[in-house]
Symmetry: C2
């Protein structure tokens, strides 16, 4: 038996586009003599469709794609993820299903049993968990079809679910497992995924064909990395990351289990590639070509601009340098040097005159009051406004350059440097931003060395440095990681050996700046806990602050 796995880039709600991609993959599978082709979870409508699932019209359009695929299934089995209607009157209206189509008939539906409802996942919001799990006969084989999370309840000390769908299907002696996934990237996830698949094949002693999506959906990036694993735990094949891949496998060879082919997994390389596709797909899927950014001469905007160039091409990236009286000559030089290195259009627009016009209208009201964060925010907001004016006038998207350390502690101005259509670095801690800079410069100097070596500063008042108001990033990032990624409380973090003053201050800053994050742009997720829908906290709470 020959099995084709199709690792595709789906577009949410773009039923027509998704159908076209799938038909193309089916044509290839046919040419390669495949008996069966497998697509990803909710492939008809893209993942995550979120509340569009509550619209009957949306479900009907997805069913239309299933019907078209069914018509296209002569002599080839098609396993494809899509929502299906729960026939019972009790419980949620939908299942998250895998449809098995063959010879223009629906021969089987496998409904997902384990519904991830944590972090960025909301599946129990829409779907009823299946309690019935059956393998299916196809030609001379018995196949256990699972959907994503269905295979994830093993190998944990504290499992999230009380059932394990594969346990139930083993009674039917399946020959292999197929898993349709939409499993988002984070920099450790490809490793965890392979370990998890290995736990499954070793436990059940049958091979697995695991098909993932690739491509990004605003904040969520799918890395692909679909896996074929033999029963002995060998990675028979791991598909490339961040690209389309349609490949056909001879089941017999997979069963032999003598091949082992894995992708390399280096954290910073993966993050770089995830961010590039995050930018690229955001523009593609929204139908935009051009990006605009503000360049400060600092490392964050330098990296973001470089990523934008790598995603969209130098001809589609434009930057504004917007010096004030507090901008150092060095910063302007560093920014210019970057623009020249990258070959992008840059314009220099000093903001003093606009600033003075604000000063003049506000003077009667602010007279005699000490300058404070108000004046700093005005500068940041003038820059945000100029960038948005270019964005509006030239039909480009403003990319936000805030890093995760700043976003965590609220070191940024709402409607100023926190503006933008997409926050590229807001899941990357400052210490990781430096690592990205070295990675980007590994072959030749693209990021000016001075942008990397100078002390970080917002340059909103004379001689300002980030270290005036924040702990050193080396320490701060570790504390933030324990609080944000690991959900440790203050006592636990202090017990790890961090200074209690720093810990309590950092946690207070994080909790007090929830109101800023609420209004910040969507963040490309590269870690296991990113800001956005994956981290939901009340604004008005009084906890650790």
């Amino acid at each position: 038996m020959k099995i084709t796995m199709a690792q595709l880039n789906y577009h949410i709600g773009n039923f027509e586009g998704n159908l076209v991609s799938m038909k193309r993959a089916i044509d290839q599978a046919r040419n390669e003599g495949a008996d069966l082709i497998c697509f990803g979870e909710l492939a008809t409508c893209g993942y995550p469709p979120r509340d569009f699932l509550e619209f009957r019209d949306f479900i009907q359009k997805s069913m239309g794609v299933i019907q078209e695929l069914c018509e296209y299934s002569q002599d080839i089995g098609i396993i494809v993820g899509a929502p299906s209607i729960n026939p019972e009157i009790e419980g949620k209206d939908l299942f998250n299903s895998a449809f098995f189509l063959y010879n223009k008939e629906l021969i089987h539906i496998a409904n997902k049993g384990l519904l991830p409802t944590y972090d960025i996942f909301d599946e129990y919001r829409y779907f009823e968990p299946s309690k019935i799990f059956n393998a299916v006969q196809f030609k001379d084989k018995t196949i256990a079809i699972t959907v994503c999370e269905d295979i994830w309840n093993i190998g944990y000390e504290n499992p999230l679910y009380t059932v394990c769908p594969m346990d139930e299907m083993m009674a039917q002696k399946p020959d292999f497992i197929i898993n349709l996934s939409a499993s988002p990237f984070s920099y450790e996830h490809s490793r965890e995924r392979i370990e998890l698949i290995r736990s499954n094949v070793l436990k059940y002693q049958i091979p697995m064909f695991y098909v993932n999506h690739y491509g990004s959906q605003t904040d969520i990036v799918f890395d692909g990395g679909s896996v074929v694993m033999s029963a002995n735990g060998n990675v028979y094949d791991e598909m490339p990351y961040f690209e389309e891949c349609v490949r056909t496998y001879q089941l017999h060879d997979v069963i032999l289990g003598q091949q082992s082919r894995e992708q390399t997994k280096e954290k910073i390389d993966l993050i770089y590639r995830a961010l590039v596709i995050g930018i690229k797909d955001y523009f593609n899927k929204l139908g935009f070509k051009k990006a605009i950014l503000g360049l400060s001469g600092g490392i964050d905007s330098a990296i973001t601009t470089t990523l934008a160039v790598d995603a969209l091409g130098a001809e589609n990236v434009m930057v504004l340098l917007m010096p004030s009286q507090f901008s150092s000559e060095g910063s302007i030089q560093d920014a210019k040097e970057l623009a020249i290195n990258l070959g992008i259009q840059y314009e220099i627009i000093p903001i003093q005159d606009v600033y003075k016009s604000y000063e003049k209208v506000l003077q009667p009201y602010f007279e005699g009051l000490t300058p404070n964060v108000t004046e700093e925010n005005i500068q940041a907001r003038i820059r945000g406004m100029l960038l948005m004016a270019f964005s509006n006038k030239f039909n480009s998207i403003l990319l936000n350059t805030t890093n995760k350390s700043e976003m965590s502690v609220g070191y940024g101005t709402l409607y100023g440097d926190l503006s933008g259509g997409l926050a590229v670095l807001a899941d990357v801690y400052k210490t990781e931003v430096y690592q990205l800079a070295h990675y980007i410069n590994r072959k030749s100097i693209r990021i000016p060395i001075n942008s990397i070596t100078k002390p970080p500063s917002a340059e909103l008042r004379p001689g300002q440095k980030d270290s005036d108001s924040l702990p050193d990033y080396d320490i701060l990032d570790q504390v933030l990681f324990q609080y944000i990624e690991k959900r440790k409380g203050p006592d636990e973090i202090i017990e790890m050996g961090f200074d209690s003053v720093i810990v309590l201050r950092a946690l207070k800053l994080v909790n007090r700046s929830e109101f800023k994050r609420y209004q910040s742009p969507p963040v490309i997720r590269i870690s296991s806990k990113s800001f956005g829908l994956g981290r939901r906290l009340p604004i008005e709470a009084k906890y650790l602050c």
Copy 2:
């Protein structure tokens, strides 16, 4: 037996404050000779605590409150909602529980079985659904303790859940039901709630004591309206809306069922009161006193300002009038008249000079290009910036005045008029805004008549009217309601008799402006489907747009 119900205003994560409120209510209950006092769902930590529930530290602090209440339970039974730890290793780590404390001992825990995971609710994100339901003996009575949603699975054609906790507890012949709720306000909800409670008491033929929270948590408002219902379906008592209430009931009288006392329920009156407490609590809980708003002379900013005055007092509300060359003299007059009517401080800051300073720096780049939405946005953003400067300088919160019709179709400028700490009217359609105006003016003219009667305009270009770019609000609001509240698709709405061009255009505008709503302020929720965490849609989708 005497039972006290405590309808309190909890503050998320403010364990100390919540404990103080609860002890005060217990003191009152003791004075009134109560045997038993009941608080709301998750009363120790406030509702919704969201991802704070993932912090062990947070759970421990909640357990600390339970211990303190336990110490305080000599001679009085205390039933209080709090998270509890799931002792099983499989499944989620927590239950959403009702702790029954008496004579310094924990005598019973009732765990919630039905976990709302839709709209603003995410309970399955945190909690394991209980599968075991037991009534508890207390003195000579048997009590069925339920938590919120546990009583909501009856009376629907298409029930959301496959179990009904009360069905299981009836085998133990309970004498009455206690329900601890945190059931948010929407303008139809108090009526639905009473119907639901009635379905329960009539089905099970025993009385119910239903205790709710009151007060707001940023976007979510709890109206209180706690209910004591006799087995015959009579509302023995309905507590007042939007205020603290601690009352003691003689069980014997409730069983007799001869009293019937309900609050009046008028849609616009309820919305008005919800918005006022929404503002008031947001400021109180964040520790702010003063609000700032921009007054355009239009109806939305007039209403928002009036609500702010009613919530915070005239002395705490300041407004800016920021005319441009496109502002009519009438608008400035209307705005002044409102400020004078309300007795609030107002300042007039024309924006032309600041606008010119932008024009000057942008001129080299925009030369020869037709003025478009870019220039309109600059005006809106200058106003946003001036308001934020005042907000920063005078430690006040900017209130956003966008209505739901505008927010739906994206008729507003990000970082301009979409700025603010809290969006007061963004769940109120324009047609309802007019009804609010008449309600506010019912005793005396507070909102200038001209603000109500003139055609709506953003005044961002000469002679601009909302109706130039949008359908009439009378039609638009109905279409939006069907799409947003009722989740109807385009075909269904057109079949209702609406013009297909208007419908398709409106739905496209809604879906295309998701990126704006993503970055908009939190919205006080007054309907069954508000923008924010209750409505989750992808930005980058291609559906109906």
